[in-house]
């Protein structure tokens, strides 16, 4: 198992003050599959002990995988404010 957060320490981000993706946690609590936990390539979604998830936007790579796999309609998905978020250097 890789610790992806160590990888992402090398990335350059400019953080917005608020999250660009708004998660309706109420809907996540009723989600049996919670595919976002493993599908997100930056591990932005972490499990809550019983059910539900917590989303941390800081390491988000803005790929949109959560947006296309979430079938609970739990995400209000937007790009970050201009200039904010990930800034690649070698991609």
């Amino acid at each position: 198992m890789v610790n992806i957060s160590v990888r992402l320490k090398y990335s350059r981000y400019r953080l917005d003050r608020e999250a660009h993706i708004k998660v309706n946690y109420e809907k996540c609590r009723n989600c049996g599959r919670r595919a976002c936990l493993t599908a997100c390539p930056a591990q932005c979604y972490l499990p809550q002990p019983e059910n539900g998830v917590v989303f941390n936007y800081e390491a988000c790579l803005e790929c949109g995988t959560c947006y296309i796999i979430c079938d609970q309609g739990a995400l209000n998905w937007n790009f970050p404010k201009g200039g904010c978020g990930i800034s690649y250097r070698f991609a």
Binding site: C63, Y67, I68, G82, I86, S87, Y88, F90, A91
Partner: protein, 434 residues
């Protein structure tokens, strides 16, 4: 004209948007190119290959000016099993010569350079600006709303080049909601190698370079593949996984990448390397099955935003399709300006021209590759089947070599029956051969 009014607004400074901006600015139109990243390319990522013949027509001998890493003269396709691999290794002298078949590039450098070319031609580049919506008057798109003070910008035509997730096409009512089956997720690491290691390990001299695409089961069951590209003195290495399998298998793509890096055929290539950066991006992979309505009054959709990626199994091409679509969009807009008509009928010319170009011709020609790529045996059975067959055949252990057909028959039945093999062979043939 006020400062918030333009001839053309282009959203997204990737290859599609920048191409359109460059061509329109050259013709003297008042063009604004809007990019949400800190600079053009800051949000962009791909495996590594730019097939630039289409760019050569726009910027002759672009390779002498653009930040390219290496030309690609060697293309390797590998079937990957658990601890073995079988490859087709193509090496071409023609690909080493101008106008070159393709180059490895980094998008952070290439897209930035390309946008500066558009600015030199007269386009206005507005970075760090996210566009949230289109402005409509009746059936006509007449501008966009940017997320900033006085964010309403108006133009005769809006070109959406806002990438794989195109919210602009959605806001304009041109595309349906996405499904996981339409996308793959790609992740990539760039790894710096010790001086001289790249040339030695891959047998490269000068600016020679290679691409290696791998087909197989990734990690613990993801459907997709992997890739490796040679940069100047680093490697780009990554994994691509179909989003539906990410959803179903509950396997992470970064664990799959780590496993790929440990594969005995791959690990020695990375020895002594220093990790530089990890990146991720979605790839629209449903070809003809996901192309939105490409135009409406006052608006055109280009590049990844229009799902214009050639998915042909052995081909996965996006940037050349993006450049071509940006160019065709620009030509359509120029014609509209000549006539002074920007309605839906005038914009329809874009689709007609795309259909006549290699972009939609290839995407349609290879559309039977899409169901093939959704065939799970392509990942779960055949790569290991091929490797096991060859391993048995090549083994010299004093028991003798059976003939190949007998051996294949012996392995059949374990994972796949004869009829299934024939059916899949036919599907593969339809996808690629005829």
């Amino acid at each position: 004209m006020s400062s918030n009014t333009f001839d053309v607004i282009i959203v997204g400074a990737g290859p599609a948007g920048t191409t359109a901006a460059l061509i329109l600015a050259r013709k003297g139109l008042k063009v604004i190119l809007i990019e949400r990243g800190e600079f053009p390319g800051a949000k962009n990522m791909f495996g590594g290959a730019l097939f630039g013949r289409v760019l050569d027509e726009i910027i002759p001998e672009y390779w002498a000016k653009a930040p390219v890493e290496r030309f690609i003269n060697r293309k390797i396709i590998t079937l990957l099993a658990e601890d073995s691999a079988v490859s087709l290794d193509f090496n071409s002298a023609a690909f080493k010569q101008a106008p070159y078949n393709g180059f490895v590039v980094m998008r952070t450098r290439f897209d930035r350079w390309y946008a500066v070319e558009a600015v030199k031609a007269g386009a206005v580049l507005l970075t760090q600006t996210t566009v949230d919506d289109v402005i409509r008057e009746g059936n006509q798109v007449v501008g966009v709303v940017a997320r900033r003070a006085q964010g309403e910008l108006r133009a005769k035509v809006v070109i959406a080049a806002d990438g794989a997730l195109s919210f602009l096409a959605q806001k304009a009512g041109l595309r349906k909601d996405f499904t996981p089956e339409q996308f793959s997720l790609g992740v990539k690491e760039v790894i710096q190698l010790p001086p001289g290691a790249l040339e030695e390990r891959f047998g490269l001299t000068g600016d020679e370079g290679l691409s290696n695409e791998y087909l197989g089961r990734m990690g613990d069951g993801l459907h997709g593949g992997a890739f490796l590209y040679t940069n100047k003195d680093s490697l780009s290495i990554g994994v691509v996984a179909q989003a539906h399998s990410l959803k179903e298998k509950q396997v992470t793509i970064y664990d799959a990448l780590e496993k790929f890096k440990r594969h005995p055929a791959v690990a020695p290539l990375l020895e002594g390397g220093r990790f530089l950066e990890y990146s991720a991006h979605l790839i629209p992979e449903a070809g003809a099955n996901m192309i939105p309505r490409l135009y409406t009054g006052g608006m055109l959709v280009t590049g990844n935003a229009a799902g214009l990626v050639l998915v042909g199994g052995v081909f996965l091409e996006g940037v050349n399709c993006a450049i071509a679509s940006g160019r065709i969009a620009a030509e359509t807009v120029l014609q509209a300006f000549e006539k002074g008509i920007f309605d839906k009928r005038a914009m329809a010319e874009y689709e007609a021209r795309l259909k006549a170009s290699f972009v939609l011709r290839d995407i349609n020609r290879y559309k039977s590759a899409i169901p093939l790529l959704m065939n799970k045996r392509l990942y779960e059975v055949y790569p290991s089947f091929a490797c096991r067959t060859l391993e048995n055949w090549f083994t010299v252990d004093g028991t003798g070599h059976p003939k190949l057909a007998g051996m294949v028959k012996g392995l059949l039945g374990e994972d796949v029956g004869l009829w299934q093999l024939a059916g899949d062979g036919y599907q593969m043939g339809r996808a690629l051969l005829w």
